[in-house]
Symmetry: C2
Subunit: 260 residues, 2 copies
């Protein structure tokens, strides 16, 4: 988490395409801090879980020992853009390379960080839990998965990270109602019952089996990948998503009867 001091001048490469390039500008007014935070979700033991890191036990740092979302300052020397910065922070914690990554929004205000006016750009990532080994970086003890429900009930997260986590969960749940996002939370090949359990874990309620299967198969985004044994007595068909780049959008939400 410690940020190295970079001494380079602002780079203005490849800019100003239709005019003479302008020199990088040294600002004459104070700038906000710019950070990127990542809300990394997975499903662990049938619980929606989020990756948290513990802040250093150092009185000079804000929120010492408190748990926080992984993130940190944008490094204008290393990060080409915001998404690259988010991918870097994700990889540093999980060694996962190409997950589902979506921009959630930004939070910026005078007092969210005691060190001064700061704005954070927040991304959320979905990764399957199997085969996941947290990066054994400097401080593995400071990183861990927590159940989202527990975190929102008990812990007090650093900064405004509780509000950010709530927004991320809300966005995830609402999109899960009409997209195939949970397919990014299970290892391939997965069976339809496994996928359905993932939906149910994220949504926190059960879904009718018949309707679920009809919807998934009618959307025509899954390829059969042979029977998978061992999950239960009867083997089930395994599936892979045809195009992992784009999640599928269904024409309706689940359970429109209960929602306004």
């Amino acid at each position: 988490m410690k940020r190295e001091i970079t001494t380079g001048v602002r780079s203005a490469t490849a800019a100003g395409r239709r005019q003479a390039p302008l020199a990088a500008v040294v600002p004459s007014f104070p700038l906000p801090f710019t950070t990127v935070d990542v809300v990394i979700f997975t499903v662990l033991d049938n619980n929606l879980s989020v990756l948290l890191v513990q802040r250093p036990d150092n009185r000079d740092e804000p929120f010492p020992k408190a748990w926080a979302l992984p993130g940190g300052y944008v490094d204008i020397g290393r990060d080409e853009d915001l998404a690259a910065c988010a991918r870097r922070k994700l990889f540093e914690k999980t060694a996962v390379v190409s997950p589902y990554l979506e921009q959630l929004g930004s939070w910026g205000s005078a007092n969210r960080d005691p060190r001064g006016w700061s704005a954070t750009h927040v991304y959320f990532a979905l990764i399957p839990s199997q085969g996941l080994a947290l990066a054994k970086g400097a401080n593995a003890a400071d990183v861990g998965w927590s159940q989202v429900d527990q975190v929102l009930k008990r812990h007090r997260l650093a900064f405004d990270h509780e509000a950010i986590l709530r927004a991320a969960v809300e966005r995830l749940r609402s999109k899960v109602e009409y997209t195939s996002l949970p397919a990014y939370l299970v290892e391939e090949p997965f069976t339809l019952p496994q996928l359905q359990r993932t939906y149910e874990v994220v949504l926190g309620r059960s879904i009718d089996k018949s309707g679920f299967r009809t919807r998934m198969l009618a959307a025509d985004f899954l390829d059969e990948a042979g029977y998978v044994e061992g999950e239960s007595n009867r083997p089930a068909m395994g599936y892979r998503v045809r195009d992992r780049a784009v999640p599928v959008v269904f024409p309706r939400t689940f359970s429109p009867r209960h929602q306004e």
Copy 2:
């Protein structure tokens, strides 16, 4: 657009609630620039339109004379948070106080601004066109409404504002399929035919009258406000939205048959 030089120290007020307040920090590494841009939509003469400002004709400024979205640097002395900054910029251009304002996302990279690494937080606003007088500030000639379709076809906007505008239009169109957002684009009281025309203008296609009326009235978010005459031969019932704070979400999109 000229930014005054502010000399104040970073404020750390009301921060560090559960610990001794930390002093504001002077950064030891270069920071990106932080800006806020606003995509302001209205419907003008049955065309979805966006407010653009012309950049100064000054060789020292990037993209001189090019059209751009209204926006600028966050002023950490004046702007309490990002949304307040967006509201300020909206008011400076349109004198509109409390429109529909939603965060669209953020764009940040090393080369989107030739002056250096910058990140912009983008909001989009919906305002009714009637009774709208552009703020007669310093430079009224530099501000104006443009049809979105024309802008995306002909103009070359400054910075990455064309990509931002495309994202804003995409977000608006997709939300209009299943929300009451167009109600923010017409002056109250409005008739259902007026509202339907607004939907059709934003979506760029016609909608069946019967289904439209059924959906709007079944959602139970409109209050009758007496008959409105003069719009056509036959007077039509005028409506006001019951709660302007929250748009209505419909259970399905329009025309699910044609979309994937």
